[in-house]
């Protein structure tokens, strides 16, 4: 069924954001699951702003896991250091310090996990410190540094609306659906 969409004057002139590949910028999503100790990276969403990113992340990534906390952060605010890369550029050691959140990915293929936060003068300083504090044993670890201020988090007071509605929807799991005998092994 289709309906005529009214055409408005000047519509062709709409310009979206500053990115060229997609309409909206990318946001990285971190979920802490029920019983989980830390926020874990859960891929990304595209959204026009932080609020939309948070709601989109809820719909995309909390359907199959029981989340209790949700963070989104602009992808552009994430600095990633890979172990085979050169040492991160050092920041001015005397600069103003801000709080940074550190995520560590222990092996390729695993999701980065929130390790903690530390004060740093910039991304390079944050990563250098994080390597000392959080990456003592795992040689292959990569480090993500995010300014704490760039994180948009779900308000715990809104947990009922954000997280509870998934609990009674068991059809969100593939195991809800019975596979007819004729299908055999899938």
């Amino acid at each position: 069924m289709s309906y005529d969409v009214p055409h408005l004057e000047g519509e062709e002139e709409i310009q979206f954001g500053t990115t060229t590949d997609r309409g909206w910028p990318r946001w990285e999503v971190f979920v802490r699951q029920n019983g989980g100790l830390a926020h874990i990276y859960s891929e990304s969403v595209h959204a026009a702003d932080a609020e939309t990113a948070l709601l989109n992340a809820r719909d995309a990534y909390l359907r199959r896991v029981e989340g209790v906390s949700l963070w989104v952060v602009p992808a552009a605010a994430v600095t990633i250091w890979e172990p085979d890369a050169e040492d991160p550029p050092s920041d001015e050691a005397e600069g103003d310090r801000a709080l940074w959140e550190i995520f560590v990915r222990n092996r390729r293929g695993l999701a980065p996990v929130h390790a903690g936060s530390l004060p740093a003068t910039g991304a390079g300083d944050a990563i250098a410190k994080a390597r000392d504090i959080y990456v003592t044993h795992e040689e292959g670890s990569s480090v993500w540094a995010v300014p704490s201020a760039a994180i948009y988090a779900a308000d715990p007071a809104e947990a009922d609306a954000l997280f509870a509605p998934f609990a009674d929807k068991d059809y969100r799991y593939p195991t809800f659906y019975e596979i007819p005998a004729e299908v055999g092994y899938m």
């Binding site: 005529d4 009214p6 408005l8 969403v45 709601l55 989109n56 009922d160 509870a164 929807k169």
Partner: protein
């Protein structure tokens, strides 16, 4: 009395069933994949509420919940006209959703205190979902209204087109009176002032305004629908009509 409860459950269910179908039609057409997920998710919430209400209604009727959902003729659907209005554009979809969310949030909050424990239970869960729905739809209305000239114009167009279906949300009939006096239902008229304050607050942020035209249409509660519902039902019902009793 049993028949009154049945009819009351049916109108609550139909609002959600028809809106779920409308939103589902839009899946794959949203501006971004993520928004498709959001719309699908909201549609599923409404479908879930309709399912619970129809299962309850079915205990007071010879028909099953599926039969109630898929085999009634158009005149027996008692949803409000607002939810059957077409998906003209994203602005219409979010405006329709917002106007309805603001109504349903108040409704579910009121029905959470129903003397009927099944209705109270469904309402308590639905209120959580409605809290999320209105956060999503009001965010979009603000973004569109306070956005570009084009998005503002489209959002105001949607308000103007849909405002005529808002009086019906709060029209009280004999059934509403009976059910609210029995402590089971909520008198729609009593939900209006909260709805107006919620709607006006968001419209102000969105730099939008109420429609100036006082014209209003009603009829959904007695089965007199706009021309759009028949087409919606044609698509929604054809499989059960073609293959009665079909199950996955």
């Amino acid at each position: 009395m049993s028949d009154d409860l049945f009819r009351y459950l049916l109108r609550l269910a139909d609002d959600n069933l028809i809106l779920a179908q409308r939103l589902s039609e839009y899946i794959s057409s949203a501006p971004e994949l993520e928004e498709d997920l959001a719309v699908a998710n909201i549609a599923l919430d409404h479908l879930g509420v309709a399912h619970h209400l129809l299962e309850y209604a079915a205990t007071r009727d010879g028909r099953s919940a599926d039969e109630l959902a898929f085999t009634r003729p158009e005149r027996e659907y008692t949803n409000v006209l607002l939810v059957e209005q077409p998906n003209v554009d994203f602005g219409h979809i979010m405006t329709r959703q917002f106007l309805f969310d603001a109504y349903q949030l108040g409704l579910w909050e009121a029905l959470s205190g129903s003397d009927d424990p099944t209705i109270a239970g469904i309402a308590a869960k639905a209120a959580k979902e409605a809290t999320y729905h209105i956060r999503h739809s009001s965010g979009w209305l603000i973004r569109l209204g306070d956005g570009s000239d084009v998005s503002h114009a489209r959002a105001q167009q949607a308000i103007d087109a849909l405002w005529r279906f808002t009086d019906e949300l709060f029209a009280t009939d004999d059934l509403d009176v009976t059910m609210s006096e029995a402590g089971i239902g909520a008198d729609p008229a009593g939900l209006r002032s909260l709805w107006e304050s919620r709607v006006d607050a968001i419209l102000a942020q969105a730099t939008l305004h109420r429609c100036n035209d006082p014209y209003q249409r009603t009829g959904g509660r007695t089965g007199y629908h706009t021309e759009h519902l028949g087409h919606l039902l044609g698509e929604m019902q054809w499989m059960q009509r073609a293959y009665p009793g079909l199950e996955w």
